[in-house]
Symmetry: C2
Subunit: 156 residues, 2 copies
């Protein structure tokens, strides 16, 4: 953290003191993104396996993906397929195959959370919030920042 | 699917007909599990980054893991660290590093959903439901079954 630790204190105590009062920022798991090769096949699989149906479907040209959102309570399962070979999701599929791609947390104010993370020294992918699908404002935090997980912040 | 397709019908229509009426089975994203090396470190990271605090912490001896659940609305982020070298999570960390490990869906009746998936020919890890953490009943579906994702069914 930002302050030198007193060797007489436990790490946890020192961290808590230096972290101060971080208010709860995560108001919902907005979605879990699952990278798939074929969006139609994946939609069929989730319908047949779980009776899950598509709530929203959208091509996001800037990211080179097409997504299908399956609503689960107040969250979504986001099936995510590449629309071109140079999209990050295409690269992901080539390297790792189909599977869990990122987790998105719904937050009240994307810019505030992003600035908080940057101020803590966390590496981000989006330096400022940008438009996401279904009219949201989003920002991605780098997977190296917080325990290997690609995290998206979503403001509705 | 199980019936021959009429070439005059679209694939989707044929699939819908053969799939019959699969009722919606997913009532909540119960949790997203994130494999981490050190549970204390990960808990500190989520507290400092997002103000997320531990709602429940438990060692699950049978799985060789210790988990910390951070509550986000009606769902949890499950930080998951191995307690011994031969636990599946230890193997996962060695092969893939820290990151998204599995998605758990809350269902009304774990046994019914599991039998439905087995009847559809899906490969499962648990042939019958078993006790999970915090008094739940759980079953894991094999990651090869549904688009590369390790899926857990959770009944509270």
């Amino acid at each position: 953290m930002l302050t030198a630790k007193n060797p007489n204190e436990s790490d946890r105590e020192a961290d808590a003191a230096s972290a101060g009062e971080v208010q709860p920022m995560l108001i919902e798991i907005d979605h879990i993104a699952i990278a798939v090769h074929d969006l139609g096949d994946a939609i069929d699989s989730y319908r047949d396996a779980f009776g899950a149906v598509v709530d929203h479907r959208e091509v996001v040209d800037s990211d080179g993906v097409e997504e299908a959102l399956l609503k689960v309570a107040e969250s979504y399962v986001q099936l995510l397929a590449p629309t071109r070979d140079d999209s990050p999701v295409a690269t992901y599929l080539e390297k790792k195959g189909e599977g869990l791609h990122h987790i998105a947390y719904r937050v009240d104010d994307c810019a505030t959370v992003l600035e908080h993370l940057k101020a803590q020294g966390h590496r981000v992918i989006d330096e400022v919030p940008r438009p996401g699908s279904r009219g949201t404002t989003v920002a991605f935090v780098h997977p190296k920042a917080i325990h290997g997980t690609l995290i998206e912040l979503v403001q509705e």
